[in-house]
């Protein structure tokens, strides 16, 4: 990691106004993403990983969502405070985004060439004929053969893997510094997932992209990311070098996630499982949100929120960490 991270999220808290009142879904989240780095953000449904990403991109409507505190520094500016017209210049131009489900994120009624050209028209003021060579170039970069012919196709004419490549082409066509990929391979078959992972790795190398990779799949993090962040119930519970965390996790939640994998268990025997369910926002208590499910819980855990050590490379928020 370089000294000056490209993206620095500091103390970010996000809440939603709901029928049950204001609920905090991202709570005091801080992390940095260096130039050319891939950072993995892992956690289960409802842990706040996607809300974090969408808040960085300012994609959430407000209301009902509110940034209650914190800063999102990107290229020296705080994205939280940026006026919407300035934010539009960042979104899609400086930061690209790839979503999980390519079929629902693409416009089914528009040819893919025009969809990819849209951000060139928005950010560079190029009309379609001027944008076309850049679109073809982007399609080539994402490994789509015969790009001239593809321009006039509709999303439904493409396979899932090709659609995801089109999404990536849209995200990189303006030459962003950073890519947010939210579960980019979850909807794809294993062999296609391997193709897309390979593509993201080569794009990162060739274009010097920084990637924030959001996933629930620990295997993908292990293969793609040098550093990782584990979120649970809206908070970061552990962060640091991925290899170190996989070898010796400190937080009992991270440990539980890694140990529930069938790969780490003798065939046919009971798998390790974390008892209970993730508490819903609003039922997260005063202390550590994981306390109710934790095998190492102590009195203090229920009373006080553990702080994430901020000075070390491998940080964990736990009063009773594993050795």
């Amino acid at each position: 990691m370089t000294n000056e991270p490209l993206l620095s999220v500091q103390g970010l808290s996000v809440s939603f106004n709901t029928e049950q009142g204001r609920l905090r879904v991202v709570d005091d989240v801080s992390f940095g993403l260096g130039s050319g780095e891939t950072l993995g953000l892992v956690g289960e449904s409802g842990c706040g990983k996607s809300v974090t990403a969408q808040t960085i991109m300012r994609l959430l409507a407000s209301p009902p969502s509110f940034v209650e505190g914190g800063r999102i520094l990107f290229e020296g500016r705080d994205l939280v405070l940026l006026a919407e017209n300035h934010m539009q210049k960042v979104r899609g131009d400086r930061i690209g985004m790839v979503f999980q489900e390519p079929m629902t994120s693409l416009n089914p009624t528009q040819r893919i060439g025009r969809q990819i050209a849209e951000s060139l028209s928005l950010h560079r003021g190029l009309n379609y004929s001027k944008a076309q060579p850049l679109v073809i170039d982007a399609l080539r970069k994402v490994g789509i053969g015969n790009p001239e012919r593809r321009l006039d196709q509709y999303p439904h004419e493409l396979s899932g893997g090709l659609r995801q490549r089109v999404m990536i082409a849209m995200a990189i066509v303006c030459g962003p510094k950073m890519l947010i990929a939210d579960e980019p391979t979850t909807a794809l078959d294993v062999t296609i997932q391997a193709q897309i992972m390979e593509l993201l790795q080569s794009l990162q190398k060739d274009l010097g992209l920084s990637i924030l990779l959001i996933t629930h799949d620990l295997g993908i993090v292990a293969e793609m990311c040098r550093n990782m962040i584990v979120m649970y119930a809206g908070r970061i519970v552990e962060s640091g070098p991925a290899a170190k965390i996989f070898r010796r996790p400190k937080h009992p939640y991270t440990d539980g996630l890694i140990r529930s994998s069938p790969r780490r268990t003798e065939k046919g025997t009971r798998l390790f499982s974390i008892p209970g369910l993730v508490p819903s926002p609003g039922r997260r208590g005063r202390g550590c949100s994981f306390a109710e499910r934790c095998p190492c819980v102590m009195e203090k855990c229920r009373a006080e929120v553990p702080v994430l050590a901020s000075d070390t490379r491998h940080a964990f928020a736990c009063w009773n960490p594993l050795p």
């Binding site: 893997g161 296609i192 992972m197 295997g219």
Partner: protein
């Protein structure tokens, strides 16, 4: 080991959308499953694994071939006998959100199969329903609640309770944990392993997740474009795969153990279109070992190194 279910040359063909070609969804499949065993069926979208499951349940009629359950051909049974057999074969679906009727409470969902098959009196069915809740680890006061009040993992428990209500011998599990979070996945897999032992069940476990399949299965069948390309003991097939497709699948799974990281075999091209199956070996356009013979002759499944494989290399 005595055989519980067996398919013989089982095929299911459909007409393609334009009516010009034939889609071979399942093509000449021979499988057998012993009592108390688990057979894993793996493959990617469109490989025919779900069609195969529906054939084995007797939900759809095959174009040709047989499904033998306890030695009887399911297709030759009269309606009453088929109804009886259906009690013995149940299914659990992937998506616990889509497969439970949102307007029925849990008690009604679990009791429905008992009512349909006229099992016991009303009072006996209620006792049975509560026992089933205990068995799958749900609270007894869940009975009056509706599916939307539960998490994904709990809904899958409801689906499992319903599937075991009629004391089946065989359960087809169609991607039973794919929609669940990692920590919930292991809870459900443990439940399935426990129930299998307690109720002496046999499973057909359909999944795209090879690590899950390896953990629960005695034998594994790998499908590609409607046919079986490799079939044998689970550890043997998944730890030392022979078919280039199985090898690619196994190598493509992201692994947590960085030390064991191997070179990923990245297959070129898209998953094949079942409406347009290439001549010869269906896998040859994506295969890095393809030879002249692969473009011409369909490789038959044959014995090699202790398992069956459909590949001209062996």
């Amino acid at each position: 080991m005595s055989t519980l279910i067996e398919t013989r040359n089982l095929s299911k063909y459909y007409a393609s959308r334009d009516g010009k070609t034939v889609v071979r969804a399942v093509n000449g499949v021979n499988l057998d499953l012993g009592k108390g065993h688990t057979l894993g069926v793996v493959g990617e979208s469109g490989c025919g694994k779900s069609t195969l499951a529906r054939l084995m349940l007797g939900l759809i009629e095959p174009t040709s071939g047989e499904v033998l359950f306890n030695g009887e051909d399911l297709l030759k049974l009269d309606r009453a006998a088929l109804r009886q057999r259906r009690r013995e074969i149940q299914i659990v679906f992937q998506d616990p959100y889509a497969s439970l009727d949102p307007r029925m409470n849990v008690s009604a969902i679990i009791s429905e199969p008992l009512e349909i098959h006229g099992v016991g009196t009303r009072a006996e069915r209620k006792v049975k329903m509560l026992d089933l809740l205990d068995l799958v680890g749900l609270d007894r006061n869940s009975a009056a609640k509706y599916p939307h009040e539960f998490s994904g993992g709990q809904r899958q428990r409801i689906g499992i309770a319903r599937a075991i209500a009629l004391e089946p011998k065989l359960i087809v599990l169609d991607e039973p944990v794919s929609a669940l979070d990692v920590s919930i996945q292991s809870q459900i897999l443990n439940l399935l392993l426990d129930l299998k032992k307690r109720l002496n069940l046999s499973y057909i476990f359909i999944s795209h997740d090879l690590s899950v399949v390896e953990h629960v299965s005695d034998a594994v069948a790998v499908m590609y474009l409607g046919g079986i390309v490799e079939y044998g003991e689970a550890l043997r097939v998944l730890n030392s795969p022979l078919h280039p497709y199985t090898q690619a699948l196994v190598s493509a799974i992201p692994k947590m153990d960085a030390e064991k990281k191997k070179q990923r075999i990245v297959l070129p091209g898209d998953p094949p279109n079942p409406e347009d199956v290439p001549l010869g070996c269906p896998f040859h356009p994506r295969c890095q070992h393809a030879m002249a013979v692969c473009r011409e002759a369909y490789p038959a499944l044959h014995l090699a190194e202790g398992r069956k494989v459909a590949c001209h290399l062996y």
